[in-house]
Assembly symmetry: C2
Homo-oligomer: 364 residues x 2
Amino acid sequence: MTYRFGDLVAFAAELLSKAGLDGDKPDVVARLLVTADAMGHTTHGLAQLADYLEEIEAGRMARAGEPEVVSDRGATLVWDGRRLPGVWLAARAVELAAARAKAHGICAISIRRSHHIACLAAFLPAATEAGMMAIVASSDPSTAHVAPFGGTRAVFTPDPIAIGIPTDGDPILIDISASITTAGMSARLRREGGRFAGPWALDAKGRATDDPNVLFADPPGTLLPAGGTDHGHKGYGLALMIEALTQGLSAYGRADGETDWGASVFVEVFDPEAFAGRAGFIRQAAWTAAACRANPPAVTGRPVRLPGANAMEGLRRAKAEGLALHPGILENLAPWGRKLDVAVPKPGPHGCSPACGGAIGAAD
Amino acid sequence: MTYRFGDLVAFAAELLSKAGLDGDKPDVVARLLVTADAMGHTTHGLAQLADYLEEIEAGRMARAGEPEVVSDRGATLVWDGRRLPGVWLAARAVELAAARAKAHGICAISIRRSHHIACLAAFLPAATEAGMMAIVASSDPSTAHVAPFGGTRAVFTPDPIAIGIPTDGDPILIDISASITTAGMSARLRREGGRFAGPWALDAKGRATDDPNVLFADPPGTLLPAGGTDHGHKGYGLALMIEALTQGLSAYGRADGETDWGASVFVEVFDPEAFAGRAGFIRQAAWTAAACRANPPAVTGRPVRLPGANAMEGLRRAKAEGLALHPGILENLAPWGRKLDVAVPKPGPHGCSPACGGAIGAAD
């Protein structure tokens, strides 16, 4: 059962618009959430929308206006996000950082008091399509699930970092967290009675386990940093870096005792043209991409893939042939459709209209 | 058996000077190699010096002059390192990036054709002592030991990345590689008949193993990316990022078929003052550092440490009380001492003279 990409975007945008978001915020947020679903990041796409609508209604996500500029030195900026929709803020930041990188070669923007930014990989193509390399990272100072390596009390969020690298074909789109798994995945496994694929958590006493329920126990356990019990100092180091880029450079974070769901965000764009030329950059990236794709696999029949290859393929397929959502996502939004008087899209074996950028137009 | 910090620096500097390095290169390289030993990075300190001397003698490490400026946009630079000593180039790059970050808020320098840069953490205090956050990363396009996740043919070097974060006390100094372990450690374990502490490598057929000998087999095995067989896509992503920053932005790397030992280097410095103020940055970093240090340990008696805490303590102790080198390091340099007529330092229960920055002067 698939839905037209543009229908899902229009549905989400209308919900956000009727909930009160101003300007281009409904369309930008809607398009990036559906893009996340199409890229396969199904916990960070439309699955977030009901929570966003609730945050708007409760006044915890701001509806209107611009971020406040705390500092602007050309190649560096700090924004106070004023709790505006994080997906919109991050998209705006990537756009501005790309423009500034064209002028300065590089631009870094640190954002305090953003709301949640959902799927980091979804922001990258806007930069890579312009031939730029981009980094997006995020942390949430209001909560913590990950302990420092060797410890048992949570200090960090999973702290995702995404890196977009242009090549001669599809871009490389890396989207990894500093912990082995995420809070969202833990909650999903707990609901579905599942287990982690390995000892990815510690209970409150510091014993490694594959049981997601330890995160919800009292006292709670913690998610292990990337590298796990074996070499978790690597994930710990990444978490320290990401929290410094997001909360340190924006000078707002855990030290302030924030309690509302949100995000501190770091966006950085490099213009290879300002360094040693775009062609030279692409030449190296293309060589590496080819060496990875042609790599003899460890397991026969499981070819080595480049990060983002499946996501880009999923995005093309969703625009051409429609998108199959993870079960429950639209059902979860149906009450909001009734409440805000927005019709839930109808499924069908169709693609997207040319107007929304799909390769194959197929009227429903 | 300890040696005076200043004696070791003077010894290494005289060797490098008599080998032909010009200007301040001998002193800068010597000081940073001994610093690496003092920080506990014993495979990346004076253990490298004999190889450097051999490279100089063979004409594969340049002796004199400056890097060539390929591009300079203020906040971004590319240098052609002309195969000058990498330790000197990286130290110069951190110094310049810190000065430029003061003007622009941020500065990134990508260096092609550097020689080996040894211990990345050793470059960080120069930035953190000025209140700056710094990132140093390195790859060597002439060789490869790490396969992309799911593959069996090496494409990447271990690709270290180091991050320095100023706090209200000692800086946080992270120094991690994108693979679980390194080529140097594999060679050392092979010599000593040891094994990895876990399944950190794959044989040529893709089977996980703790046997370092697979790296030297024909066909050779590979080092696993950080995360290992369980979640090695994380280390794979880091390797792709680091190779793009070092070889992509400098537009020189694996695509050029380089065969000589060397490095492609990325240095980036952020001035928190230009973002949202130094005090605000330090306040967040101090909060995080305290939360990590006070974290209840998973194993009783093994307190959680901050990355760099042992290194800074080791550096202070080495300057005050002298430095105990890893076995074999000075013996390995004795032939070079004879060849270049430089006396090998004598050990003794002494500290460093006040002139070299030690806290306690103790004449030998």
